[in-house]
Amino acid sequence: MQKKDIGLALLVLVVGSVVALINPRFLSPINLANTANLIGLFGLFSLAEAFVIVTAGIELSVGSLIALLGVLFVDLIVVQGVPWPVAALIVLTCGAIFGSIHGWLITRLQLQPFIVTLCGLLIYRGVARFYTKDGTAGFSFGDEFPVLEWLISGRTGGVPHSIIAFTVIAVIAWFVLHRTVFGRHLFAVGKNEEAARFTGINTRRVIVLAYVICAVLTGLSAIFFAMYTRSIHPASHGNFYELYAIAAAVLGGFSLRGGEGSVVGVVLGVILLQVLQNLVNLLGIPSSLNFAVMGSVILIGVIADTQITKHRNSRRQAVALATIKGAAPKPQSLPE
């Protein structure tokens, strides 16, 4: 774990302990299972976003994609009668197609990721609403998909399957980002695309793949959300989720300039955001302040991080200066 991750883990523990002390219901099995379920659901698309952010890109259409692909999934299995595994495959494939279109527009037509995915955000939301004629896509009374329901929204030994899926995918994502050649290339492209190109990395392919991975994971997330809410209002379903994902990634140490961040960090970021939400509920803070609390915590976290980095750099500078002046760098004496 990096230093940043340890700091974040401590913050999660501190906030969690405070909430638990003030309201012991925080640690009740029901609350823990619910929180875990939400961590799983929100974690999936936050991981997705991280793959794009590490390339110095951004994906703003996450929430709209969750609405559109969710609507599509429900319509396929409920109205069209498509077997759910086929429907799931179609949804994931659609995600891959959208992702590769984004990647193509960004790498071949040299459009800015912000603009491409902002248009995606508008287009997918509009199409989703049109698709259902602005109505609600959902399961009617008596519709039963026992296997699908158990698989996606069920629990094993009290543990929601969403958090299990999130854990498995987080482990895979950790491996891909931090242990594979592709992961190294993602970081390299995000840090300095030109240097990466001069090193023989196929930067276009790496970037396109990042958007494809992001959109496919978003598709998976769309299925989980569809089964969680069971009815989808395409005008509001998944609203602001992209911003939530970006927040989790930034909290987790990802830089929007690319090339920085860790999977451990984004997982901790997701957990912290959910615990904060829980804190608002359990401590009786008006839920209207929800976003304000989230925003403040992120702001404080980011300020603390930049100040620490600045401090560290100036200390390094001072040591370098002392070295050339002939004086050996004095070891910093710690206050007893």
Partner: protein, 500 residues
């Protein structure tokens, strides 16, 4: 000049500036007074630009002081520098091409009139016109800037400086891309300024111009003062000796070797920048082929085309007998080609990446199984490279940003050596690295050539080209205008082909 013009008297004493991993300036002294032209010389990376930035207020020194007209400053802000009459004409000019001459000259100091503070065109032009007249420009106050040549843009910058009542004008490599007559004109403008009591600080690599115009020459080497010459002492030889600080002969070594079959051959290659010029070139195994020419002669463009960074529009490139067809970097690398690019910090390295990660990046696929990186092999590769090239660092897991320029260049080389190249293209291999590290780089080049690697070395450093290369190809406007064998290698021969 407005009345009340007071000549500047400026003195820098023991100025020091440290960047992580690099001492840019160490106890540097410099003085200049109104009516004086001082040449500042030194090799690339000697600290000239940092010193200029200290004067311009862009960099605050870590130590030492600045005395201007008897006032002491520990650092200047850009605004203060401007107020004190210090004006900077940069090497890279960025005029606002969407505005006209007057608007550019008076940008930020527009003259307004009336209660609505509307722009007073007439007053502005009336202020700019005499300055242009003084400089003898061919353009007028209302001309658009977009059509001006580089030389005229430079005069525009000088006009801007004068409009601010500049008392010290700093010119950074002003002649590097000018023609001979443009240079003459600029030098006479400098003398004109001098006669009006303005101090001129002139940075140049063109020693004959320095000799021609300067009253005094200050030399920097490795961030320290390396000597000063005045009046009659100023001659090319003395300046070169100060810059290099040692005998040229012992600096370069040459290996004698026979010439074999070409490892890299270009036939009719045209780059997109110079579509009219087609290049034929052969590089042999174990040979160091220098590529000389003025800045902008198309050398870097050619290197980029060979390496597949940019597409070339026509012609064929054979590497070790196989044709490079897809014009892509991965193809070039797997055929055995490497490029040590001009811009080490932006193209050669990922500065924030660990040294070990930089070294392994081009050959990660060989260090991994099923796409998973074998970290042990990665580490041992980095350690072996560190030992082979003697990269000076306390840990290969530190970021490359913390290394000095010379050691960064070794890391760039290390990453390519791991791919077992047959041909390495070096684009300005010693730019911005100190003298000691330069000698090491030359030593490495020779060692590689002895091992049979073909080396194409682009360099603007004449001494370097002549000292290191077996043969030299000279380029001008995208053409190879001539190839000189070792017995024909003189500065004069190269210049003749480069300027033509």
């Amino acid at each position: 000049m407005p009345s009340g013009f007071q000549k500047i008297s400026l003195e820098l004493s023991r100025v020091t500036k440290v960047y992580p991993g690099v001492v840019a300036l160490q106890d540097v002294d410099l003085s200049i007074a109104g009516g004086e032209i001082v040449g500042l010389i030194g090799e690339n990376g000697a600290g000239k630009s940092t010193l200029m930035k200290v004067l311009g207020g862009a960099v605050s020194p870590d130590g030492g002081g600045i005395h201007i007209d008897g006032q002491h400053y520990s650092a200047l802000s850009p605004a203060e520098a401007g107020r004190l009459g210090i004006a900077f004409v940069h090497q890279e000019l960025n005029p606002f091409s969407n505005l006209d001459v007057t608007a550019n000259v008076l940008l930020g100091r527009e003259i307004t009139s009336g209660p609505l503070r509307l722009l007073d065109r007439r007053a502005m032009e009336a202020k700019v016109a005499p300055i242009l007249q003084l400089l003898g420009t061919r353009f007028g106050p209302a001309d658009p800037v977009s059509g001006l040549s580089l030389a005229d843009q430079q005069l525009l910058e000088i006009a801007r400086a004068l409009s601010m009542n500049a008392r010290l004008v700093i010119l950074d490599e002003p002649t590097s891309s000018l023609t001979l007559s443009e240079t003459e004109r600029l030098l006479s403008v400098m003398r004109q300024l001098q006669s009006r009591g303005v101090a001129v600080l002139f940075i140049s690599h063109r020693l004959s111009e320095v000799e021609n115009v300067a009253d005094r020459v200050v030399c920097l080497r490795d961030g320290k003062n390396a000597g000063e010459l005045t009046g009659q002492q100023i001659c090319k030889d003395a300046m070169v000796r100060m810059m290099i600080g040692r005998d040229v002969q012992q600096f370069y070594e040459k290996s004698a070797h026979g010439v074999s079959t070409p490892v890299l051959s270009l036939r009719g290659v045209r780059t997109s920048t110079f579509p009219a010029a087609s290049v034929d070139l052969d590089l042999h195994a174990g040979e160091i082929l220098g590529v000389a020419g003025l800045v902008g002669a198309g050398r870097t463009e050619l290197a980029r085309a060979i390496f597949g960074v940019d597409a070339f529009s026509d012609g064929t490139i054979h590497l070790n007998g196989t044709e490079l067809k897809s014009h892509s970097v991965p193809e070039a690398i797997s055929a055995g080609l490497s490029l040590v690019p001009e811009d080490r910090k932006e193209q050669g390295l990922l500065l924030d990446f660990a040294i070990a990660d930089n070294i392994s990046l081009p050959c990660l696929n060989h260090l991994s199984r099923f796409g998973v990186v074998d970290r042990e092999r990665e580490t041992s590769l980095a350690q072996a490279s560190q030992a082979r090239l003697s990269i000076k660092t306390s840990s290969i897991f530190h970021s490359a940003a913390e290394l000095s320029g010379g050691n960064q260049q070794k890391v760039v080389l290390a990453k390519w050596l791991a791919t077992n190249p047959k041909v390495i293209i070096f684009d300005e291999p010693t730019r911005g690295i100190d003298v000691g590290a330069k000698a090491e780089v030359y030593h490495l080049l020779q060692a590689l050539a002895r091992d049979g690697v073909g080396i194409l070395m682009i360099s603007s450093d004449m001494e370097e080209v002549i000292g290191v290369s077996d043969r030299v190809a000279v380029m001008r406007r995208g053409h190879v205008t001539g190839i000189l064998n070792s017995d024909e290698l003189t500065e004069e021969n190269i210049l003749r082909l480069a300027v033509g």
